[in-house]
């Protein structure tokens, strides 16, 4: 009988002493964490994509709370909705930003370039970029080996087997910017999604002079400057034989696209052009 009493006593005593020690230790090494971090982290999408520049959603939440403001801190995936929720928690005013989308600025691929060499090395854009210009000969164009597909956490980018070029799924793309960082040739760019998803952009990043660029690719920008002249909003600039449309200035007037002699300027999600314009163009060609 006494054995049981002793053992119970010893256990109770040890437990008691340990509890007292642990209590003081816990007081001493207490980590004070702002409860708002948890609240914000709950609101974030939780995909840990890194699109905001932090390592993950919780890191962004910490960053926001530590900074105490929302300047430049924003979850590109959540967009305005999440920004408003976070602002509410912090008692701040949410900043509004235009939704962005990833745009692939190369239209070369298998269809518009002729393959001059066959690449049989590692199927990785980074490696191919170190070793060769490209199968079609363009030193700036898409290599089509799909590093962007590999990094996308939202399954929003796919390689089109017919053209060999990546295609962005408008529904799924959240503009986290991972593919932009991954692409060794800086072909993918985050551009304004636009009203009714309408966008105009130059689908080429080739900086060669017109002749060599056109030699390798039917749809290359040759830097002729026609689009620059026709633009009324000063949105188009030619630099290094390449036109670039500034999406902040572009008003989607559609004047530049028909001017492009190689069809390098793409219009997305616009209704087809009216008959009148087509007739005018045809007349212009005949004359």
């Amino acid at each position: 009988m006494s054995i049981i009493i002793y053992s119970v006593l010893v256990l109770v005593l040890t437990g008691g002493i340990a509890a007292v020690i642990l209590y003081f230790v816990a007081q001493k090494f207490k980590v004070v964490e702002d409860p708002r971090i948890d609240l914000i982290a709950d609101k974030l999408p939780g995909a840990n994509c890194g699109g905001c520049g932090y390592t993950g959603c919780r890191a962004l939440a910490e960053g926001i709370v530590n900074a105490g403001s929302l300047d430049g801190l924003r979850c590109p995936v959540g967009g305005d909705k999440v920004a408003a929720e976070i602002a509410e928690i912090l008692g701040l005013e949410a900043s509004k930003a235009d939704p962005l989308i990833a745009v692939v600025r190369c239209n070369g691929g298998k269809v518009n370039t002729t393959s001059k060499v066959v690449y049989d090395g590692v199927q990785d854009c980074l490696y191919a970029h170190l070793n060769m210009s490209s199968q079609g000969g363009c030193p700036n164009g898409c290599l089509g080996l799909g590093n962007c597909v590999g990094v996308c956490a939202f399954d929003a980018i796919k390689i089109d087997t017919k053209t060999g070029l990546p295609v962005v799924d408008e529904e799924k793309c959240v503009a986290c910017g991972l593919c932009v960082k991954e692409c060794p040739r800086h072909i993918i760019e985050l551009r304004k999604k636009g009203i009714k998803n309408r966008r105009i952009f130059v689908s080429c990043v080739n900086t060669e002079k017109g002749g060599p660029a056109k030699k390798n690719c039917n749809v290359a920008c040759i830097g002729c400057g026609k689009c620059e002249k026709v633009c009324e909003f000063d949105a188009i600039k030619i630099e290094n034989n390449l036109a670039y449309i500034d999406f902040k200035k572009c008003r989607l007037c559609r004047k530049c696209a028909p001017e492009c002699p190689t069809g390098a300027i793409h219009e997305i999600n616009f209704p087809t052009r009216k008959e009148k314009q087509v007739v005018e163009q045809a007349e212009a060609i005949q004359n």
Partner: protein, 443 residues
């Protein structure tokens, strides 16, 4: 027989052009000469469109520390200064020259007479090498004069000459040692004087007995030049491996050979040094092996820099029908050429035409964990581990596994029974580590 410490492979030697004497390649009508043909900062152009140039005239000047001069290999008119594709397909600044003869600049001795007496002193020699745009002809094109400007507090004990030529197929150095050994030896004497050392070690692989015999006979007339036969094993000619084989000294990780008192140069470079110092001739030509199992006329050619690769191939009977790859350099470390209209550069030592069957990669399967890549790595690295980390894009971890020490010899890739692209992945990680280091240096 002396050799390096660990690893190495022995691929089939295939030295098919051992018996063909060096032929002088006729001058092309039009040539494309790249402005910068070396490792380091780009050189600055000193000629203009429409200028008449003579062979040996300076066309681009070195203005920074790691940089080399470029000279015109031809006499003719510069018709265009534009971007031209190099053999990787990328564009580089180049001069297009219409060749109208072979008129050399005054003061350049083009005779075959051998000049033995070295008149210049150490500093003058280094200046002369710099002026004549001599770069390492082993493959990296590192400006030679920089190797001889020793950092403060460092002293060289040995001059090491790399005459190993361990790459299969290549025979340009072998022919050089048979036909122009005397010039090379004088070149070594000059470099010895520039470096102020007593001893020069020339490492030659044992599969070139005639070259060893020839050099040993001639070296008797020169003091302090020792010809050392080395075991036939790849990569015997890698800088660090060669230093170990000859001196039993090990270059520490991330350091240069001067750390262990050695300066290493290729045998081809010694001949270029001889021409530069004794004959005032800049580096404008090199010996090129055109080879391959199906090539009709395999040749060793003396080619001027800037000759279109296509014309060299045409000269040797044209491209065989089943050619899969044209490789600039040897089969182990060379790079596949993606544009045959590209011109040769100072370091184009070989053009290897491989049939389609030979050139294709093995089908890639899963890693067997056999550890063969680790056994053959001459640097004692673990290629499999670096490759795994690289596949997962953990670039910082690849740095911790010493990916930067990889000499890119390709032994691991050659050995791998699963056909894994080990070297390719290591190269990618090296590139990324370089980026990381640059970022750190900026901070």
């Amino acid at each position: 027989m002396k050799t390096f410490k660990k690893g190495g492979v022995h691929p089939q030697e295939n030295k098919l052009t051992n018996d063909s004497t060096i032929e002088v390649f006729p001058l092309p009508k039009q040539a494309v000469v790249f402005v910068s043909q070396h490792l380091g900062a780009p050189s600055t152009l000193v000629v203009q469109k429409g200028d008449k140039v003579k062979a040996g005239q300076l066309i681009a000047k070195a203005e920074q520390f790691i940089c080399a001069n470029t000279h015109s290999p031809y006499s003719g008119t510069i018709t265009k200064i534009d971007f031209a594709t190099d053999f990787t397909g990328y564009k580089k600044q180049a001069l297009y020259i219409d060749v109208d003869g072979d008129e050399w600049l005054e003061g350049i001795d083009t005779s075959t007479e051998i000049i033995r007496e070295i008149k210049l002193d150490s500093n003058q020699i280094i200046d002369k090498i710099k002026e004549m745009g001599v770069v390492g002809l082993g493959g990296a094109a590192f400006p030679t004069h920089i190797k001889y400007m020793l950092p403060q507090g460092k002293k060289a004990d040995y001059l090491i000459i790399n005459a190993v030529e361990c790459e299969p197929y290549l025979t340009s150095d072998y022919r050089l040692m048979k036909e122009k050994a005397e010039e090379c030896l004088i070149g070594i004497e000059i470099l010895k004087k520039a470096l102020n050392v007593e001893k020069a070690l020339v490492g030659v692989e044992s599969n070139k007995p005639e070259a060893i015999k020839n050099l040993t006979n001639l070296a008797k007339n020169y003091k302090g030049i020792e010809i050392v036969p080395l075991k036939t094993k790849y990569p015997q000619g890698a800088e660090k491996q060669l230093i170990y084989a000859l001196t039993k000294r090990e270059v520490p990780s991330g350091k240069l050979p001067i750390e262990v008192g050695c300066v290493v140069n290729n045998i081809g470079t010694t001949q270029a040094v001889y021409y530069a110092v004794q004959k005032n001739m800049p580096l404008v030509q090199n010996i090129l092996t055109l080879t391959g199992k199906n090539v009709k006329e395999r040749k060793n050619l003396l080619v001027r820099v800037g000759t279109p690769i296509q014309s060299v191939i045409d000269y040797c009977g044209g491209l065989p029908q089943d050619t899969g790859k044209v490789i600039s350099g040897g089969p182990m470390m060379g790079k596949a050429i993606s544009d045959l209209s590209a011109p040769t550069v100072k370091t184009t030592s070989a053009l290897l035409l491989m049939s389609e069957k030979e050139s294709l990669r093995k089908e890639e399967t899963n890693c067997l964990r056999c550890g063969k890549c680790i056994t053959v790595c001459p640097m004692g690295l673990e290629p499999i581990k670096i490759a795994q980390l690289a596949e997962n894009r953990l670039w910082e971890d690849t740095e911790k596994t010493y990916a930067m020490d990889c000499i890119e010899c390709g032994s691991c890739l050659y050995t791998c029974p699963a056909g894994r692209p080990l070297l390719d992945l290591i190269r990618v990680s090296k590139n990324h580590i370089g980026d990381l280091r640059r970022q750190r240096a900026q901070k």
